[in-house]
Point group: none
Chain length 200, copies 4
DNA sequence: AATGAATGAGCATTCATTCAT
DNA sequence: TATGAATGAATGCTCATTCAT
């Protein structure tokens, strides 16, 4: 593939991620992506076959791009087992703050029966070792509850995803301001405490 | 409104909930709803103004229909503070199992920028007292961690919602079978333990 | 027909005239008329059969209601033959000013191939004698050009109709302000002079 | 724009003029135009945005195409001032005979409140000089009444437009046959005489 | 006489996709 | 590789008209 073609293909994908994540599969128009990318509509079909192909490519790319935790965080987590939960949750929350494409694409993909998730890889791919190591150390030292890594990660993912993905409705449900900076801070602290061993 | 009209309107709403929750706002066709409901398309516009009106009515209805917790559960929870978390989480998981419209509509509504969530009420409406009472007792007795009710409920909602709403992608991510009966059981147990005070 | 029915029928017709004249046959909605008249849609079909029937009834009514010239004007015209043209044209212009339904219904009816004009009567019906008499006197006295009454009336109708019916486009065409009070006055004076014998 | 596209666009416009002028804005269906033009409906939206855009384009085109008077007529009018009125009126009448799109589009545009007439140009554009010259000569020579050019043109336009545009209703109103060849001839002669200076 | 409910054909407009250059 | 042109099946919504009470 030529340089120019690569650039075109990349522009398409980047734009597709943005628009699909905003509007979902059905809410997105191929014309819209082509226009926003400044690319001829036909190129989309040349490179991605059809709308579904483009969506799946966008979904896969988002997953590839996202590392659940940053290297730095993991290193720090190994060094400071007592802060493990706090570090990981903060990292995850920040990820969602900075890169909302992720939870949105995730949500669309899960809702849409036409979308195949085959292309999705484990986001922890390549980080498993480090995570396991950090978690093992923390548990040894009694810094986290005695649960499986799966449950631990599941819990952290759940609260950070839920916090972001249900903002609109939760704003109506919870009168207390969990979406103010202070409210969020407080909520997170209490959630973090769940994962820790409490002496009572 | 005549009897016949009521029936028509109701048939439309029921069908709308089913199809909207399945396919979302953009993925749903008014023609499809009319056909599935066995109703003349025009009636939808007569009763619900337009597609958005129908979606919002469907969303509101789902929220009204759902009680976060059953009466029975709450009563039991007051009597058995040590089982509070287990009872509530089970109830919530069952709700999502039996009535998937709920989390799906919730998810669509949160993703879709065109949908207003004004009509959404606090699902705990009317149950606040009981929940507070049960929670207060459980905390007094040292059966739950020392966190706010908001954080407690948030945590429970988060894990049950996340478990259901991200099934497709989580199946790819977690190689361990959290969607097998046994895997689910185990995961839930460990999650419940998070909310409890640990002696360790 | 009962009193109530008469009132309903009349309300429908009045409203129909207003809305049809504004929007034409195709631009008008039966629903719109029913709503504006505060009447049940079904009544329209009961009394006027269908949309075409209602339009034709409205057209006929407008023609019946309009007298090309007022009694007073005609009497004065007989007395003042030298002012005949001025009196008649002024009268006609005023009619169009005050009752725009007339030229608009006329225009719609002429444009629309679906509308039959059978029901239209000669608007001069009943005034023929007086007009003829006034015109004959004026011609005898050399106050009007030596043309047929038909041509005379045609000319007067033409300019007054044209002035009103082509306002939108004439405003673009004629830069000189024939739609300002002064411009109109001047134009009318000059047009009146056309009908008069000039010594020059 | 490619050759093919130009042809398509032109076919659409020509057909639109025909059908719009026949049925007006509301009476015309985009489907009908597409079918009659043998063109895919979507092309209409590609080239003219929407129904209104197409109507305005049709209106503008009709105005551009029409020259109020032919070159030949104007030249002859300068040479034969005594025939000015006759030449111009005949020309105008012929225009309406041959090109009924003109008065019909004019009439629809004036009636329809949704249609903007911005795109309409002065139909006399480019002919002003010649007309003024011919008119000035005729007036000098005492061949036309002593009125403004505006009033003169207005009068000629009025009678020719009125004759054509109100045919359906005038046929009912004037029992004398102004729409027979002989009747028309006679009417025109008398109308022409209005514009001329009469010795009495 | 009056009205609410229902209908089916229609209507402007859009969209994913393919064709031709 | 790139692009403008074309297509046919939708898609949300409306309308004249009829039915049932």
């Amino acid at each position: 593939m030529q340089e120019r073609a690569k650039a075109t293909k990349s522009k398409i994908l980047k734009t597709a991620i943005r628009i699909f994540s905003e509007n979902g599969f059905y809410g997105t128009r191929i014309d819209g992506i082509a226009a926003a990318a400044g690319v001829n509509k036909q190129r989309i079909y040349a490179y991605y076959n059809n709308k579904e192909g483009l969506f799946e490519a966008a979904l896969a790319y988002v997953f590839e791009e996202v590392s659940l935790f940053s290297e730095k965080t993991l290193e720090q987590a190994v060094r400071e087992p007592e802060n493990l939960t706090s570090l990981l949750l903060t990292d995850f929350m920040n990820l969602h703050d900075r890169y909302p494409y992720f939870w949105r694409m995730l949500a669309w993909a899960n809702l849409n029966k036409d979308v195949r998730a085959d292309s999705i890889l484990d986001i922890r791919a390549g980080q498993d070792r480090m995570i396991e190591k950090a978690f093992a150390r923390a548990r040894e030292k009694g810094c986290v509850k005695d649960i499986s890594l799966t449950a631990y990660i599941f819990g952290l993912m759940a609260v950070s995803f839920f916090y972001h993905a249900n903002r609109k409705t939760l704003s109506m449900t919870f009168s207390s301001g969990i979406y103010t900076p202070a409210g969020r801070e407080q909520l997170m602290e209490q959630l973090i405490s769940l994962f820790q061993v409490s002496s009572r």
